[in-house]
């Protein structure tokens, strides 16, 4: 019954997961000091809401979400905020970011829990607010705020929730272990998200090299038969990158996410098991996201395994506990070996998207040999899971022929690294694609900035016009109010008044019509801006995306959306004024009222 469809290409790298799946998930020692970056998620960094010197409990909110796509950050230990400043964070270029540093005594652990909710009874608004207040984001690596994703039904009808348990990248076993130990909770979390998104069924996609997790899920599904929502488990043979959202959907449902679109466009929502678990804990236990399961592996570790670590824990503490041999450590990788990033230092904090740390020896993951010329052998084409021509994209990216690169669908590249993996000339192809993408985005950003200035100018014009129109409406209303009694008394002035009033209804009608059209257009513009924003923020938040670009882009889009909203408000005000004016000339004078708010667009 589990029909499997297929995506093109794919590779079979060695899994190397056995080392970290020997023992149950351990709980890491409570750190004495945590460093909490404000940008652990896709979108805008959060804004600190605590002061240096303030005492916080575990779970106290220390930073508040900013903008549409953002997430709260919570204290992960009990202690005192000792600093808010720039610290190095896990980033491919070794960037520093604003972080909140909390110090505790390593023993006290007082929790600031939110009240427990029964998700079956609670209404959607309450659940959304809870997810919002818990800082839950996608734990698979993308870090997209779960709360924002949960609201997707406001724009798209969702029929299927996919639990992405493929975990196809080598080394990583965090989801596997979480499923083995918490399968029932993951399933309940899935039902919670399915309720919020309106999905009619839940499908769990998992690679068949995780037999224990599959058995745990089967038991969980059998135990939860009473629940009406059908859950089906679909194991499939391991092949990288079947855990890529688009590839997984293709494999399970034979639906293709449209280019530059989202799974939601085809009625699908994908969640990682860890995220579902965190969402359930936030709702059922009132526990904000302050810890996560992280795989510690690599041959430089004496005791590899999975640990539940508090966010902000310095990585070197975790690695030391796992028995790191400094002399053998050649490279430290956060994430998997295909899409992860190499870290230049060991004292970086664990963040919400840290699913795996690989302490690799030189023999295990040797540095890449020198890049050789591309001979267009086409090995990358055979490996590409998106049906691209990586060899052509490479030429275009290298020679900065951006238009041609876009024509060859550069932006459909999911940066999975399968092409680099097979390239006989050891070309870091994905690096070229990322560079080309960010250059294209930067160019588009410049263009948008000009556009943006234009929007602002147009908005200002609109506002001035609106104020003038309102003023004019009020003046007319006053004039009418003054005229009526006099026209009753003295007929002689009527003809004169009529001759001046006569052309007015006609022009007012025309005005009304054009304003209604303008209103519809402005509404469409707002809707479009919302859609583009949601789309860009989700697609750019895809794994491995350098954070900087998407931030700037999202910020700009948010301003654009605000401008579109203001434009709409302005036009509605003008429309109301024109209506009043028309009403004033044809009927009894009414006081000018602002009905703009009644027609206000629902905010997403």
């Amino acid at each position: 019954m589990a029909r499997a469809f297929d995506f093109p290409g794919g590779i079979h790298p060695p899994a190397r997961k056995a080392a970290s799946t020997q023992h149950r998930i351990a709980t890491a020692a409570l750190p004495r000091r945590v460093i909490l970056p404000l940008g652990q998620h896709a979108g805008q960094p959060a804004e600190p809401c605590v002061e240096v010197g303030q005492r916080v409990d575990t779970g106290t909110r220390v930073a508040k979400a900013q903008g549409l796509i953002s997430a709260d950050v919570h204290a992960s230990i009990t202690g005192e905020v000792v600093a808010i400043g720039s610290y190095p964070v896990p980033h491919p270029a070794g960037r520093e970011e604003t972080c909140i540093v909390i110090e505790g005594d390593g023993i006290r652990d007082d929790w600031a829990l939110l009240p427990s909710l029964d998700w079956r009874r609670a209404d959607h608004a309450t659940l959304h607010a809870r997810l919002d207040a818990s800082g839950v984001v996608g734990l698979g690596g993308a870090g997209f705020p779960t709360q924002v994703k949960a609201r997707v039904r406001e724009r798209n009808a969702i029929d299927t929730l996919i639990v992405n348990a493929a975990e196809c990248e080598p080394y990583i076993s965090a989801d596997d272990m979480a499923l083995r130990e918490h399968a029932a909770d993951v399933l309940e979390g899935a039902r919670l998200i399915a309720k919020l998104s309106g999905a009619q069924r839940i499908i769990i996609g998992i690679e068949d090299d995780k037999p224990e997790a599959i058995r745990a899920l089967e038991r969980g599904i059998a135990a939860g038969q009473a629940h009406p929502l059908p859950i089906s488990l679909k194991p499939f043979p391991a092949r990288y990158p079947s855990g890529g959202e688009k590839q997984l959907i293709k494999r399970l449902l034979d639906r293709e996410v449209p280019s530059r679109g989202l799974p939601a466009d085809i009625g699908v929502l994908c969640h990682n098991p860890g995220t579902l678990l965190a969402a359930l804990q936030a709702v059922r236990d009132g526990r904000p996201l302050v810890s996560r399961v992280i795989t510690l592996t690599g041959e430089a570790l004496a005791r590899p395994g999975n640990v539940e670590a508090r966010l902000g824990t310095p990585m070197n503490e975790l690695l030391a506990t796992a028995g790191l041999d400094d002399d053998r450590l050649a490279r430290l990788i956060m994430g998997g070996p295909m899409m992860g990033m190499e870290l230049s230092r060991l004292d970086l904090p664990v963040v919400k998207s840290s699913n795996c740390l690989i302490a690799a020896t030189l023999d295990e993951l040797p540095p890449p040999p020198a890049e050789q010329p591309c001979i267009r052998c086409g090995a990358c084409e055979d490996a590409c899971p998106a049906g691209l021509l990586p060899q052509q994209l490479y030429w275009f990216a290298r020679s900065r022929e951006h238009e041609k690169a876009e024509l060859f669908n550069l932006f459909d590249c999911i940066e999975c690294g399968a092409c680099s993996y097979v390239c006989p000339s050891h070309i870091p192809l994905v690096d070229y694609y990322r560079a080309a993408k960010s250059e294209i985005r930067a160019n588009a950003f410049e263009a948008r900035k000009a556009e943006h200035a234009k929007h602002r100018f147009e908005f200002r014009q609109a506002r001035i016009e609106r104020e003038a129109a309102e003023k004019e409406a009020r003046r007319q209303a006053r004039a009418q109010a003054a005229k009526r009694p006099t026209s009753m008394a003295a007929n002689s002035t009527t003809s004169a008044a009529e001759s001046t009033a006569q052309p007015q209804p006609a022009t007012a009608d025309a005005d009304l019509k054009s304003l209604r059209i303008a209103q519809a257009a402005a509404k469409a513009a707002v809707r479009k801006a919302e859609k583009v924003l949601a789309r860009v923020s989700q697609s750019t938040s895809h794994k491995g995306q350098p954070q900087g670009q998407s931030d700037g882009e999202i910020e700009d889009l948010e301003v654009q959306l605000a401008t579109a909203r203001e434009n709409l408000a302005a036009i509605e005000a003008r429309l109301a004024a024109a209506k009043d004016a028309a009403a004033g000339t044809t009927q009894a004078p009414t006081p000018p009222s602002r009905s703009a708010d009644t027609d206000q667009e629902r905010t997403p």
């Binding site: 995506f7 093109p8 590779i11 790298p13 060695p14 080598p170 688009k246 590839q247 293709e256 449209p258 280019s259 530059r260 679109g261 490279r331 990788i333 070996p337 295909m338 899409m339 992860g340 993951l365 040797p366 890449p368 040999p369 020198a370 050789q372 010329p373 001979i375 267009r376 052998c377 086409g378 084409e381 055979d382 899971p385 998106a386 049906g387 691209l388 021509l389 052509q392 238009e403 041609k404 876009e406 024509l407 060859f408 669908n409 459909d412 690294g417 399968a418 680099s420 993996y421 097979v422 390239c423 006989p424 000339s425 050891h426 870091p428 994905v430 479009k528 859609k531 583009v532 789309r535």
Partner: protein
Amino acid sequence: MSLMHQSQVSRQPTDTGRVMAWLLLSTLPGIATLTWHFGLGVLSNVLLAGAFGIGLEALVLRLRRRTVRPVLADNSALVTGVLLGASLPPGTSLWLILVGMVAAIVVAKQLYGGLGQNPFNPAMVGYALLLISFPAAMTQWAAPHGLLSADGLSLGELLARVTGMSSGMNTGPGVDAWSGATPLDAFKHKPDALLASEFWASNPLPDGTQAAWRNVALAWLAGGALLLYKRLIGWQIPLSMLTAMGVLAGFSYAVDPSHHGSPAFHWLSGAAVFGAFFIATDPVSAATSRKGKLYYGAGIGVLVMLIREAGAYPDAVAFAVLLMNFTVPFIDYYTQPRTQGHARPNRGIKVTRLDDEEAS
């Protein structure tokens, strides 16, 4: 960027240098069979051309102030030399080989920027230049006397020929003994009055020529099978090229078997198999998408047959490959695969800014 690479975990040849090394290994059956039938002149061709390839590449790299050793380690110059050497008539003069290799390595490859940048197949550029410039020397093949036979060229005679000491092939008493035409050449210049069966019955070629050519073609096929097995080449180009040749040859043979060669004759008598597996599959100058490779191979097959049947040359793999090299950018633009999430593949070269708003 993937921090893991196939070469760290797999036994498949996943390194350009090793890919080329396997390619060289795959040429061994063909070269061995050629040598077996046509004598040591084959080996002198291959060795000289290979040595010139490496020497010229090193020279140009030095002139271009590039690092020499890592580039030579990719073995591509050696491959070009071996392939050109194997295509030349046995015992070709040193000077001809040098001219051919200069055209191949210096002009066709390095002047365009080195490995990966050349739009034309270097070995075939060298071969075509020699064929056009020195047609007499390039169309005289040794008779298949065999490596050990006394009728063949002795080592001394070979040395004299290769170094240009002997005064040429059309003089001297022994010349007829070792030189002759290829079956394709002979058949092409068959008198019109003769039917094919009468022509072959008249024994126009030295004994065993056809069998020798057939064996050589089969040996190249074996090497090609190794390339396919090792996944160093795709099946698309050899299959479409040989199929196109077979279809055209089959058609003309069906219409008039007395004046046209059969498909088997066309496949096994000339450079068709060698070209299909070792020349046309050069990835740098071939079409790059899987679909494009089908068109590219078929185009070569069609051109080979057209030139063989209607052109001035008995064989035409070099010209066909070079002509199709011209069409590669065009083919590549029109044979993009369908990307996931797109309803249909992109086609053509209209470069306009794509509308990034949703279509719906």
